[in-house]
Symmetry: C2
């Protein structure tokens, strides 16, 4: 007998993609722009979320989904202190968020009262790259002390992002990091990506990132308004 | 009919553990001490390997297994320049090494002419923690700019290690990192672990780590000698 080959990985990804499309439709219907923050552990996802809330929350209504591999609520607490609604997702040890987890989290957020949802994925440069969540933009937060070789070593995640934040530029004088080599690696993989070198620690150069993000939120809202969709 | 539940994950781990035991037996038979280096991307696994080779290779014969998610040979080249045998393992996108990959790599190393094998796992704090490789010690390389909260956020990997290197201590004056809070988190999860704060960049405080490692290599060799096993 010929053994039956079951393409398990493809089937799981297919199911994930269907839920990701459902998430996108839900976000679109509510005119909410959503971004997926991916990074190594400690690159500064939570710090960038907090800085973004501080800078934009007077004009953009923000909600956050916090992914964690364990039941820890450290990041969720830190973001919650910034005064926006936060939903924590415990992946139960899994190395990435998937569309179903985000679907459940979106049900716990007041989408009709939001303009932007930031999803903080699990700190990992490998697994999150394989699972679409239904967000409008994938953002990678790299950081200076990780080294300038990361685009060359983790090409998959660099290839499929819409924006790249290079955090911790305040450490440039103290570490060996060649910005041109980093930029060259990024351009080779993803010539269209928007690159934002900045420092969440000092607050330096955040404005270009904030412009990029708020422009996309406003564009979403104005598209909804011109289509006659009601806003809360 | 009651559906049959197949514990797939358990079965895969069972198979992995059997190969891990085979790896251990092979290493023991050759009197080779083996360590598994795990870390976030950019924490300094390769730098620590190079520093260790520079310091110990006159007295300890070292071989290296370099795990990577892609076909990049950047790390393998850097280690090879340090003048020891290196075998690269491409995980084909997988987020961790497993015992079978290490088994194949060991076949390509001249084990009978080595005292120490260092295995560099994929840069990831989640997946590598779940797969035993058959090495004698699991070593985690954390780094100062990642932040002092990592033991609290990635408890599984911190719980199951034998040694913890805290790299990039030269950056302590420039970042917000509370060494006591870090140490407290580590002690809560793993009170017996050996902690080595050091800097691969400046070379500061490497000696305690080198002592720990070379003592274990020597102990392995002398056990083999007292058992009458021949050495190459």
């Amino acid at each position: 007998m010929v053994p039956i080959q079951v393409p398990v990985v493809e089937r799981i990804l297919g199911a994930n993609d269907r839920v990701a499309e459902e998430n996108r439709a839900r976000l679109d219907a509510a005119s909410v722009f959503a971004v997926n923050f991916m990074a190594s552990p400690g690159a500064g996802k939570t710090s960038l979320i907090v800085r973004t809330i501080e800078a934009l929350s007077s004009s953009v209504r923000i909600g956050v989904v916090e992914g964690d591999t364990t039941a820890t609520t450290l990041d969720a607490e830190q973001v919650s202190e910034a005064g926006v609604p936060v939903v924590g997702v415990n992946t139960g040890g899994s190395c990435h968020l998937d569309a179903v987890m985000v679907n459940q989290a979106l049900s716990s957020l007041p989408l009709e009262k939001l303009d932007l949802v930031i999803v903080e994925n699990v700190g990992n440069l490998v697994c999150p790259a394989a699972f679409r969540l239904g967000t409008h933009a994938d953002v990678l937060i790299a950081s200076v002390p990780e080294g300038d070789d990361k685009p060359y070593k983790y090409p998959k995640i660099y290839r499929n992002i819409d924006a790249l934040v290079l955090n911790k530029t305040d450490l440039l004088p103290w570490v060996s990091f060649n910005l041109e080599s980093f930029r060259k690696g990024v351009e080779m993989l993803n010539p269209a990506v928007s690159l934002f070198p900045l420092s969440c620690y000092t607050g330096a150069d955040l404005y270009r990132w904030l412009d990029w993000l708020s422009l996309r939120c406003k564009s979403m809202t104005s598209t909804a308004a011109s289509a006659g969709r009601p806003r809360a």
